[in-house]
């Protein structure tokens, strides 16, 4: 009986609930209308007054000859006209964001063969003027499921020829389940921090020495696919696995014909015969806010794949990276700030028994080449638009039968000063002190100019 009473009571309560809710809804509606009444009355009066005055929005009392702001335009007026072309490069009503970034550098060096100092494709490559890159980026939402991006770059070679390269072309999912994101196409591998950044995002005129040595002139960039997972931790943790073909110029330490420069031998034909011939690039990144104004981003990366020194030979590259930034809450245009970025990389390169590519006679035994290197840079945005930077670098390799100038000890110290008149233009002055083992000291000065047109690319941390 008691049970019955209990359930009966519960049933009554359940039945009553909607009634009570309906009552309270009515009350709320009444209250809303009452609350809105004075505002509505005022608004109606204002609109009538405005209509009589012939304007749609109330204007401040006219002060003859001093109206500095143009009269407000109502959004109902047509936003398209013959004099207002359709905007392609915007995040507004557009199917495509289009942008162009161009970089030119002028300067000189005590080393006449500038390319031996500045080996990366987007580094200044000769004394005097260089056009290091003109990059066109197209991106946008493909459909509700994918985002797409293509980056095309033109570089003026010292010979005067224009080299065109397809830098990136990929599509990426927008909302896969389980916090996954997949990407496929041609893109920079997520190894460390700087490898996946385009040259105009770099804080220095040139590519870091260790990245040039390990990843070649174009960085580690290949056709492939990537799956990344945002871990359900309260702080940011992302796990990424990239799988690439691992061939071509932009897979330098792998099946990318880098073996002549690294180990001296003739590149061996190593086709893609099994899954183990692919290049695998795992990465783990995590970030913490140390305080409200300091953020730390840490990463560990690796890249495993076969190299073309000979059959059965593989390369392993490991890297650790750290990025720390301080910026106060009240910052104008993001200034002041201080940031510190460091990457350390190790490479283990299994060189197979090989014949010297130059004289075709000298034979080198199978051996393991071990290299490591690091760069560390500090930037100080000391007033709006002005950044002072200092970068220190070191790279070295163990002594082996072939003496590669990409494996000797090298120290480089680069102070620079960057001025950003706006977000879309940049002027940068940089000095490089270079010390190369057995070659000696070199001094280089570069002045870089950069401009950006088109869509406003959002900044990443």
């Amino acid at each position: 009986m008691k049970k019955l009473l209990c359930s009966g009571l519960a049933a009554v309560l359940v039945l009553l609930a909607p009634v009570a809710r309906a009552q309270s809804e009515d009350e709320i509606r009444k209250k809303v209308i009452e609350d809105l009444k004075p505002w509505l009355e005022q608004e109606v009066q204002r609109r009538v007054k405005d209509a009589l005055a012939g304007t749609q929005t109330s204007a401040p009392p006219p002060a003859p000859g001093t109206a500095a702001t143009p009269p407000p335009v109502s959004p109902s007026s047509s936003t398209w006209s013959l004099t207002n072309p359709i905007r392609l490069a915007s995040a507004g009503p557009a199917y495509l964001n289009l942008s162009l970034v161009a970089d030119a550098v002028v300067g000189g060096s005590t080393e006449s063969d500038v390319e031996s100092l500045q080996g990366a494709h987007h580094d200044p490559n000769q004394r005097g003027f260089s056009v290091t890159a003109a990059e066109v980026v197209l991106d946008g939402a493909v459909d509700p499921y994918f985002k797409g991006l293509a980056a095309l770059t033109w570089v003026l070679e010292p010979s005067g020829e224009t080299a065109v390269e397809l830098e990136e072309a990929w599509m990426q999912t927008t909302s896969l389940p389980w916090n996954l994101q997949a990407r496929g196409g041609l893109f920079y591998a997520d190894f460390g921090r700087q490898n996946s950044q385009h040259p105009h995002s770099w804080s220095f005129v040139d590519q870091a020495v260790v990245l040039r040595r390990f990843f070649g002139a174009d960085g580690l960039r290949n056709p492939g696919a990537r799956l990344s997972w945002l871990a359900p931790t309260p702080w940011y943790t992302e796990l990424t696995l990239g799988v690439f073909n691992g061939s071509g110029e932009a897979a330098f330490s792998y099946r990318g014909e880098g073996t002549t420069d690294i180990a001296g031998g003739i590149p061996a034909e190593r086709g893609l015969n099994s899954m183990s011939d692919l290049l695998y690039v795992p990465r783990l990144a995590t970030s913490f806010n140390l305080t409200d104004h300091q953020t730390l981003l840490l990463g560990a990366s690796a890249a495993f794949g076969p190299n073309d020194s000979g059959p059965g030979a593989n390369t392993q590259i490991y890297g650790l990276d750290a990025y720390w930034k301080w910026q106060p809450e009240r910052a104008q245009r993001g200034f002041p700030f201080v940031s510190w970025q460091t990457e350390v990389l190790w490479r283990r390169y299994e060189a197979a028994a090989r014949i010297d590519a130059a004289d075709l006679v000298t034979a080198y035994p199978a051996e393991t080449l071990r290299d490591w290197g690091l760069y560390s840079q500090v930037l100080w945005g000391f007033r709006p638009g002005w950044i002072a930077g200092l970068r220190g670098e070191f790279a070295t390799g163990n002594d082996r039968s072939f003496a590669s100038d990409l494996r000797t000890d090298r120290v480089r110290v680069s102070p620079n000063l960057t001025f950003l008149p706006t977000e879309f233009s940049k002027i940068r002055l940089q000095y490089n002190y270079d010390h190369r083992e057995q070659i000696g000291d070199d001094h280089t000065v570069w002045l870089q100019f950069e401009f950006a047109l088109g869509a406003h690319a959002a900044h990443k941390f």
Partner: protein, 299 residues
């Protein structure tokens, strides 16, 4: 039997006490409104800080985590967040808050936009927002429209709590209304007063209260002042008897101070967003405080 009933009741209880709606707002004013409207039905995370320039918010990786868990994202719109929000959204893997998603609330929708460019726009004009001036939250009338937009967004995300959101909205509108009335009273004696602003952030504010902007410290939006522009501005201020330079908390005060000294004006750094001052506890309080500060400066 009794046990089964208890279990059933417990189950029913756990089903009805559903999780709170996870709301992320880009700006403190939007977060404040979402808190007032959502009450205990929502948890609100704000990305921008009160003194942080909304054009240049740092896209910290922790924001990716916040956005990943969001049911609703409230943004200002009119490209105010274009420099940092899109890059974060690309990494969030959250379909609900993507452009056009069910949880995406754009505060600018329905606001009567000022400074809508009439001719072609390019960057020689500075950082002009092609969709119009995005600083509409300084006008309480626009604030009321935004509050309704936010309430509609919350209701769409959690239809079951619609009544609570309506209630919250009604209370918030009433509070904005009374703050606006007080602000109007405070500034009524100064209708027609001429002011200079640092950035072109105050057109909605001056329009609402009948002030007149005769110049800006920035020659064009986002462009740093040149000495010749400052000299001309100083002359203009002297000629027009301008008493104040109004600016937001993230702009430097050195240049305005030089101009102000020349013409005998004062630089007024305003807490333009909720939380920018201990008294700016929420959006209505911020509206009132702004008027108080400007009225004091204009006296």
């Amino acid at each position: 039997m009794k046990q089964m009933l208890t279990i059933a009741l417990l189950l029913a209880g756990s089903l009805s006490a559903h999780a709170k709606l996870n709301v992320v707002a880009t700006l403190p004013d939007l977060a404040s409104m979402a808190r007032d409207i959502g009450g205990d039905k929502v948890t609100v995370t704000c990305l921008g800080k009160p003194g942080e320039d909304p054009h240049y918010i740092q896209p910290k990786p922790s924001y990716i985590v916040a956005l990943n868990k969001a049911d609703v994202l409230i943004e200002n719109g009119l490209e105010l967040e274009i420099g940092w929000l899109p890059a974060l959204l690309d990494q969030t893997r959250n379909g609900k808050i993507r452009p056009g998603g069910p949880g995406r609330v754009v505060a600018s929708a329905g606001v009567p936009v000022l400074d809508l460019p009439t001719g072609p726009v390019d960057r020689s004009q500075g950082d002009v927002h092609p969709g119009g001036n995005p600083h509409f939250l300084l006008d309480p009338d626009c604030g009321k429209i935004v509050a309704k937009t936010i309430a509609a967004g919350l209701k769409q995300a959690a239809p079951g709590d619609a009544a609570a959101f309506d209630d919250g909205l009604a209370k918030l509108l009433a509070r904005i209304e009374s703050a606006q009335a007080e602000a109007g009273k405070l500034l009524a004696p100064f209708r027609g007063a001429k002011v200079v602003t640092y950035h072109k952030s105050f057109p909605y504010f001056v329009e609402r209260y009948g002030l007149v902007v005769v110049g800006t410290v920035e020659p064009k939006p986002g462009i740093p002042p040149s000495p010749s522009h400052l000299a001309a501005l100083g002359d203009r201020m002297q000629a027009d008897g301008v008493k104040v330079i109004l600016q937001e908390q993230w702009h430097e005060t050195r240049t305005p101070a030089v101009v102000a000294k020349k013409s005998g004006a004062t630089v007024v750094v305003l807490p333009t967003q909720t939380g920018g001052d201990p008294a700016a506890t929420d959006y209505p309080a911020t509206i009132k405080l702004l008027a108080e500060k400007v009225a004091v400066a204009l006296k």
